[in-house]
C-alpha cells in the first residue's frame, strides 16, 4: 500500500481540478434542514467532512431508485429495441462513509453471481471511491458488530485518514493509484506515521457512542438456519409497519422490480425500480397465493437474508452496520438491538425460550 498525505488546501485544489476536467465529484453535503446527503459538488467548501451520516447510502449511485433497462418503439413491421448505455462518465466520490463503500462490495457479489450486471458494474468501473475514516460514530452505528471498522478499506479505492493538519492517503486499488498518479502535485509523498485505531475514534467531533463489539456472526447464522419458526419473528412483526424504509436506506438491500412504462401509444421504457421484501405484494403469485403473506414472514426474511441466506451463498454478511435502518424506522425497530437479541438466543437459547414462553 502506498501512503502519502494531502492537505485541506490541496484536497480543495484536487476537487477543483477534477471538476474542471469534467469529472463529477459526489460528496456528503449539508442541505436544507441540516440533512446530509451525497450530492454532486463543485468545491470543497460544500463538502461536510465532519463525518455526519448521509441520509441515504451510496447504493443509489450504482443502482438508481429507477433506471431504464431498454426502450422500445412499435413500428409498422415490428418492434425496435434501443439498448441503454452501459458505459458511464468518470465520477469520484469524495468522503464516502467506509460502511457505505463496504456495502457496495456485498452487492457486487450478487450483481456478479453468474450473470454480470453491466449497469451496476459500468457505474462501479467509472467511479473512484475516496472514503474518509469515520470520525462520528452515533448510537445507531454498528460497523464493528458486523466485523467492519470505522477505517475499513473494503470497497474504497483510497482511504483518507484525518490527522491534526491534513489527511493520510492510503491507496487501496489501482483505480485509487490512477487518481493519485493523475494529480501528483496534490499529494505529498512523505508519509506521517499511521495513526492507531484509538486515535481515529478520538479524532472526530459529534455525537459519541461506543460502536458495539463484534458479534458472533457464525453462531447467529447457525441459530437462524435452525429457527425459521420461533416466537421472536411474531414479536418483531408486531412492531413493524412493513413500510420498507429500512430497505430504501440500506447500502446492501438491492431487491428490485422490473416494469414497463409506456410513454405514448407506440413507445416506452422497461425500467427497474427499487423494491423490498417488506411489502405484501413482493412475492404474490399470479394465482393470488402469497408465500410470505404476513409481516412475520417478511421481517424474518429480511433478517434471514442478511445474516443467514446471503452468508451461506457468499460467505459474508449482507450488512455493513451503517445503522440507517435503525435511524429511519418509524416504529423504532433497531437492527443492532435485534442482533443483540439474536446473539443472546444463539449463545444462550434456554434462557430466552423461558422468557418467550
Amino acid at each position: 500500500m502506498r501512503t502519502s498525505t494531502i492537505s485541506h488546501e490541496q484536497l480543495a485544489a484536487l476537487l477543483a481540478d477534477l471538476v474542471a476536467a469534467g469529472t463529477t465529484v459526489i460528496a456528503p453535503t449539508r442541505a436544507e434542514r441540516g440533512h446530509v446527503d451525497y450530492r454532486p459538488v463543485s468545491s470543497l467548501a460544500e463538502v461536510d467532512l465532519g463525518g455526519a451520516m448521509p441520509r441515504r447510502s451510496l447504493k443509489e449511485l450504482f443502482l438508481p431508485p429507477t433506471e431504464p433497462l431498454l426502450a422500445w418503439q412499435y413500428r409498422q413491421d415490428g418492434v425496435e429495441i434501443s439498448e441503454v448505455a452501459t458505459a458511464f462518465p468518470p465520477r469520484v466520490v469524495l468522503g464516502a462513509r467506509p460502511c457505505d463503500a463496504a456495502g457496495l462490495v456485498a452487492v457486487d457479489r450478487v450483481m456478479d453471481w453468474d450473470y454480470h450486471d453491466q449497469l451496476w458494474f459500468g457505474r462501479r468501473a467509472a467511479t473512484t471511491i475516496v472514503s474518509l475514516v469515520c470520525s462520528a460514530v452515533d448510537s445507531s452505528c454498528f460497523c464493528r458488530a458486523v466485523g467492519l471498522a470505522p477505517d475499513t478499506t473494503r470497497g474504497a479505492d483510497i482511504l483518507l485518514r484525518p490527522t491534526a493538519s491534513s489527511f493520510l492517503v492510503e491507496v487501496i486499488t489501482e483505480k485509487g493509484e490512477a487518481l493519485v498518479a493523475a494529480h501528483p502535485n496534490r499529494f505529498k509523498s512523505a508519509p506521517e506515521p499511521l495513526v492507531s485505531q484509538d486515535t481515529v475514534d478520538r479524532a472526530g467531533s459529534g455525537p459519541r457512542a461506543p460502536s458495539p463489539a463484534p458479534l458472533p456472526l457464525p453462531e447467529i447464522r447457525s441459530w437462524l438456519e435452525t429457527h425459521f419458526e420461533h416466537p421472536i419473528w411474531k414479536e418483531l412483526a408486531l412492531r413493524c409497519h412493513g413500510c420498507g424504509a429500512c430497505a430504501a436506506v440500506c447500502p446492501t438491500c438491492h431487491c428490485f422490480d422490473i416494469v414497463d412504462e409506456t410513454e405514448g401509444v407506440t413507445h416506452g421504457t422497461r425500467r427497474r425500480n427499487w423494491d423490498t421484501c417488506q411489502t405484501g405484494r413482493f412475492t404474490i403469485h399470479a394465482s393470488g397465493h402469497n408465500p410470505r403473506a404476513d409481516q412475520t414472514a417478511r421481517i424474518r426474511q429480511r433478517v434471514m437474508h442478511k445474516f443467514a441466506i446471503y452468508p451461506a451463498k457468499f460467505g459474508e454478511t449482507l450488512c455493513s452496520g451503517c445503522g440507517r435502518c435503525a435511524r429511519e424506522c418509524p416504529a423504532g425497530m433497531d437492527l443492532p438491538e435485534i442482533l443483540a437479541l439474536l446473539t443472546t438466543l444463539a449463545t444462550a437459547p434456554a434462557q430466552r425460550t423461558e422468557v418467550v414462553a
Binding site: Y74, T262, R270, R272, C277, P291
Partner: protein
C-alpha cells in the same frame, strides 16, 4: 446487450388449449439465434409484451425440437392478458433460458413416471417429448395427467397421440364432476389415480408438476409406492422478475428458485421453508 435485454421473437402459431389457456410457438427473429438457441428440459424464460411487462414461464417445448420455442399460459395478469391479445406474426420479447433442468442424463436407462395437474403439464410436456424423442434411452414411460374438467385438459392432440402409442402408458383423469358423458378415462383426483396406476419404483424417476395441493398429496403416494425422495422431481413456480439471481424475489430459505431451481427433488423440497 445488457443482461435484462430480451431477444425479439415472432409468434408463428397459436393453439387454444382450453377456454383460458393458450400455447404460443415463438420463432427467434435473429436467424443465427434461431439456429443456435439451446436449452434443457425444465428451464424457463422471461416472456414480455412491450408496454405490458415480463412474465415467467417454463419453456414448454422440447429441446430436441429446434428452431422455435413454445410457452403455455393462462391470461391472469397484465402481461399475460396482453399476450393473449397478440396474433400470429406479432413480436414479443424473450430472455432465457434460465435456471437448472431435469437431469435426464441421470435418468438414462430408468423408467420415467410423469405426473401433472392442469397447466402443470407444460413443464412436464417438455420433458415428455424430450424423453420420447430419445425413447430408446429409457425403459417404461408412464404419464398420469389430471385436470378439473375435460375442457381444462391441455395439449389434447398430444394426449391422444400418447394414448395411442404402445410405448407410453397414459392415465387421464378429471376431478369428480368434471367428466362429460363420453369421457372414457378416469374420474378422480391425481393422487389416487397415481396409486391406481402404481408405477414400479424400481429404477424409476418421477416428475411431478401441478397445483400445490396436488403435489402435497402425490408425494406421500410416491413414497408409499417406494420412490426414494431423491428420485422425485418437481419445479417451483415462485414469482420472479429478473430470473437471474439479482432481484431477490424468488428467494426461499437458502435457495433462489431462479438460480438453484426451478427443478428440485422432493428431498430438497422437504428441507426448504414453506415459502413457495
Amino acid at each position: 446487450m445488457n443482461i435484462y435485454q430480451p431477444h425479439l421473437v415472432r409468434i408463428s402459431e397459436i393453439v387454444d388449449e382450453t377456454p383460458d389457456t393458450r400455447t404460443l410457438r415463438l420463432a427467434f427473429k435473429d436467424d443465427t439465434l434461431a439456429s443456435t438457441f439451446d436449452f434443457k428440459a425444465g428451464q424457463f424464460g422471461e416472456y414480455s409484451v412491450f408496454g405490458w411487462g415480463e412474465c415467467t414461464f417454463c419453456i414448454a417445448s422440447s429441446p430436441t425440437r429446434k428452431g422455435t420455442i413454445e410457452c403455455t399460459f393462462k391470461a391472469v395478469g397484465k402481461a399475460t392478458r396482453a399476450m393473449r391479445e397478440l396474433g400470429v406474426g406479432d413480436e414479443m420479447g424473450f430472455r432465457g433460458p434460465y435456471g437448472n433442468a431435469f437431469p435426464l442424463d441421470r435418468m438414462e436407462g430408468a423408467s420415467l413416471v410423469f405426473i401433472a395437474g392442469g397447466i402443470g403439464l407444460a413443464p412436464v410436456r417438455c420433458v415428455i417429448w424430450n424423453a420420447l424423442d430419445l425413447r430408446e434411452h429409457f425403459k417404461d414411460v408412464t404419464i398420469v395427467y389430471g385436470a378439473r374438467t375435460v375442457s381444462d385438459l391441455v395439449y389434447k392432440r398430444e394426449l391422444a397421440e400418447w394414448q395411442s402409442r404402445p410405448d407410453v402408458k397414459l392415465w387421464q383423469t378429471v376431478d369428480p364432476g368434471g367428466e362429460t358423458p363420453d369421457w372414457a378415462h378416469e374420474v378422480g383426483f391425481v393422487p389416487p389415480i397415481v396409486e391406481k396406476a402404481a408405477p414400479a419404483a424400481k429404477d424409476a424417476y418421477a416428475i411431478v408438476c401441478g397445483p400445490p395441493v396436488m403435489i402435497k398429496y402425490t408425494l406421500p403416494v410416491l413414497a408409499k409406492l417406494g420412490f426414494p425422495d431423491d428420485h422425485v422431481y418437481t419445479t417451483l413456480e415462485n414469482r420472479m422478475k429478473c430470473g437471474i439471481g439479482k432481484c431477490g424475489r424468488c428467494n426461499v430459505g437458502p435457495v433462489y428458485v431462479c438460480k438453484d431451481g426451478p427443478v428440485f427433488t422432493a428431498a430438497e423440497l422437504a428441507r426448504l421453508p414453506q415459502e413457495y
